[in-house]
Symmetry: D2
Subunit: 333 residues, 4 copies
């Protein structure tokens, strides 16, 4: 039985999800594309023979929508996830669940009240081959017990409009906050954050140091104006060895006195396979499978939000801040 | 409308094609799996909810089979392709079309008589991102006019049973013969072949030098017992630069005084994306699209067979042999 | 005129300096090898036809000793440098000048009183081709203004005996403290330091974040038990690009399903060329040239000592510490 | 006792040898620089406080010249080597010994008549760390018995003046001919040579296949107009693994959407360490040591000349040519 999926949000990520559902997800059908901007919704819908809509709650409630992918602006993520829970639909919600940890708790409570999992978050790195190999190397003892995780998150340039260090922490860094918790299987307990100064008015990188409950140290560089390209890297250092993401390039070029490989322009190329596998995992769950083993849950979304909120405080105060989470509910264990 | 595909041959490649069709090809349905070995056919068929069969001609003729993928033993490729043409079905036939160039001509004649293209060959490298980037670099002038193409084809070890240098040329090298013609857009006109001697009774590598009609030089090493892993590489040298396939590895490991990346165990991992894209191109064609731009045709299969036949003569005689093709029929231009 | 050089200290570094002076420094002669352990001094001296001695002050005062290389234990560096200044001899003193910044100030005062430079410190990285290229890329604008410097200092294992996080900061990290000041041309103004916990009793890595007077951020990992080999790396991130040290290996090996390059066993292989060039620069200075442009001075030794002392406080207190240097004397500008 | 060395030839290579002898060869003194062009000789001599001269035979005969380095034009190599033998002086002669194998035989006879070795040839690759590691991997069994050696010899552009494929074989390829004999420890028995066509009037690459007496296959690409830089590479393929030269670069750069490392501009940077070690080996021999273990002898020069002569015939005839050497004299065993 084909699963009818609605994609809410027809921006860059929404368009990408619509394409994956329509063209690369056997067993699924893109039924509706919804966006506040009717023309944008229509354009994407037309491309794949889907319906267009502008009212997300209405779409979520439709009988001919079996599952929902939310890729609308960040502030709508929690309300729309709640709507999905209310409608008894499973939702793959783009990160973050909310920039407000309080709002994340609301979603958790609703999900718990519903008695079963409804929410999966789009922390797609968990489905990336590099992070999968890294996690496996840790599990199978190849590098010994994990001591440190180093992370670099570099974008070519910030999007138009003002962008601040705090926004780097709340918008970009959550990917790092999620992956560190996932990779190290331990909660973050403290964070420091600092920034160098740039000579122009673009946002400078943010350098964070996070400590986990198991006394591991995580460094994070979020550099939204790295200028040279999109470049996300990580190294997991263990007691007996170290494993790092490797630059993937299918070809290399010898020309003009250099040997070079290319950088990805943005995250869609870099994480194409991760997005594809994540949506396949979502579909398998909707089709009746278990909650996906690699998926990020509402609890994970809450934890990322708390770390981000604390990180902003650390940046503003200039001093180390403790990260305080509620006790993990049984429901999420 | 869903395309119902029969996969003929349930060996390693057939199983892989069945998996791709069943799980990774939206718009297609794996309807039948056919193999001389009924149990083997049944096992694969059961895995994906398809029917099992043992009679390939019967399967090809079935009304509820829209298109065929042939992955049975080499000697059956031409007869089954002919059966598909006769049945008016499109076929994606694994390489080689035939080890006999005469038999390839038979397929060409049948296809020509049918008045339209029916055959696409499984020279999947044309769909591999590395070769695609290489071809693009050539087309867009990045490396200037092509002068040389170097190719390495290394397998861990030959399969059980006797394997000879002639078999390396007829079984493994056709991938190289096809890619050189495709990449350089010129026909091969001569070939030399030689082998070092191994100290054991395994087949030694074959080293070939091919010249094209446009006076380009191609070197090919086919090393079926490279021992260290599956490793296919190429470098295209132009007048102003050079582009080479790059070793792709998602992670790298620092351990035991070395920094290392892994080799693929075999071609299925290395070319997973190429196989997927090739089958998508096949499906799009079956669905009514144009003959796929990257596809290898019966003519290409014929040319590869002639080069292989001539290569065997070159190896046996120890001297350079001219490669003689029939004039390319209008039908394939 | 041949310069007669005495090497004080016949341990690992002293033996290496003796070898360089005796075999790889045209214009210099290894005249004396001095060590508290007479047999050890004799062994090295015999190897190169030099004299052996056990009294460093006596050696420094000898008329037939033109210049001195100090490679004895850390606590002797300052006293022996002072003896050289008193004797009017130029000295290439291994790092650190002293682990006590107060003692460094004593050397600075003595040097200033002598009216001319006498001391060059063995922060050999300034002579390493990688750091030289990095500095050049910064100077010529290739990467724009420097924003961050990331440093990794990994050894296979700590030497026998107890080793602590504080010792990692005072013994190993000074190389990083010197290179960050040299590379960024700015003084360090604050430092934080933290450690993960290991599961065994070996010293865990120390992770430091240093801020410079020009608002640049420096991260430092000192991992004395990295287990996999000696591995020192750095990345200098600018506003328009980034330059990193590259793993240097003359060959790579395909074997056993991996492609690998080797790690250096220790710093002598890694920095062989830097040590050679540093000693050549020292010789050129002794021969009458200007104070070497790349050399690390007593002032640099003092600054490294202050950062290390502050780093230990940061590690012990768990909070960020301000780094306070005296005003830089005119003499060192 | 200091060895007084005369350098004959003050061109690019001569100037480099003069610099090494004067500045980087403890125990040696650059006594004379000799060139037909008096001004050029004087310029180099002045730079290092040596004497200038224009008469090579006169220089070779001087009592105050202990040993000679010949770096004058190719056609003078054999006559000057003969002069050195006659004068009882040891000579480090740049490659080739002669482009004429007959002339090489003359040198061999003179050396044999003299009763002891006098000639060492400047095939410096034998002293390059990459080839040393490669040879070691072969000797210690890391890659099993050698089956193939692949070689690439790429220069940015041919020097001014006409340059032909035959010249690529006689001028550039001898480095490859020497290294294949040295690496595989087997004589070359046949050779084929072919060229693609370039679209301009520059010399096209030459592609050669050489077979050894031990049935190993060697491929050689000599590409004098590779355009992108100086790039010499090799891969030695054994029965159980493969070892290749690795691109050495001290830093890598992320900028403008690429990650890149630089190519050397020419052979002096690439082989700086090899030239240095070669001259040290020469000096140690002159000082009374054994004939250097890695050195290329007159016999090796003869063999390289025969292969080159045969390679030119192979290129001109278009067919495989047998390589015929005289029986190796006892003197060179």
């Amino acid at each position: 039985m084909t699963i009818r999926i609605a994609v809410i949000g027809a921006g860059i990520m929404g368009a990408d999800h619509a394409r994956i559902v329509a063209e690369d997800l056997p067993g699924a059908k893109l039924s509706v594309v919804c966006d506040m901007d009717a023309a944008r919704a229509q354009a994407i819908a037309d491309q794949y023979g889907a319906e267009a809509a502008t009212d997300p709650e209405g779409v979520i409630a439709r009988d001919d929508v079996d599952a929902v992918i939310v890729a609308s602006p960040d502030f709508t993520h929690a309300p729309l996830s709640l709507a999905c829970i209310k409608a008894g639909k499973k939702v793959m919600c783009e990160k973050p669940l909310s920039q407000s940890s309080a709002e994340c708790l609301d979603v958790m409570k609703a999900e718990e009240a519903a008695g079963s999992r409804h929410v999966m978050l789009g922390f797609m790195r968990r489905y990336d081959p590099a992070y999968i190999q890294m996690k496996r190397a840790l599990k199978d003892g190849t590098i010994g017990r994990a001591l440190m995780l180093h992370n670099w998150h570099r974008n070519g340039a910030t999007p138009a409009g003002d962008f601040t260090g705090a926004m780097a922490i709340t918008n970009s860094a959550p990917h790092e906050f999620d992956i560190l918790r996932y990779m190290l299987d331990s909660e973050a307990v403290s964070i420091t954050a600092t920034q160098p100064k740039r000579s122009d008015d673009k946002v400078a990188p943010v350098v964070m140091v996070v400590q986990t409950a198991d006394n591991q140290i995580v460094t994070i560089e979020v550099n939204n104006n790295a200028a040279y390209g999109y470049d996300v890297k990580a190294e997991l250092v263990g007691e007996t060895g170290s494993i790092a993401t490797n630059h993937v390039s299918y070809t290399r070029l010898d020309k003009d006195a250099t040997k070079s490989v290319g950088h990805d322009p943005d995250w869609r190329d870099r994480y194409a396979e991760a997005y594809r596998q994540q949506n396949r995992a979502f579909l398998a769950w909707v089709q009746g499978g278990d909650y996906p083993a690699l998926a990020s849950s509402s609890w994970d979304g809450y934890a990322a939000a708390v770390i981000a909120e604390t990180g902003v405080k650390a940046l503003e105060s200039g001093s180390r801040q403790d990260i305080t989470l509620i006790a993990k509910p049984e429901f999420y264990k």
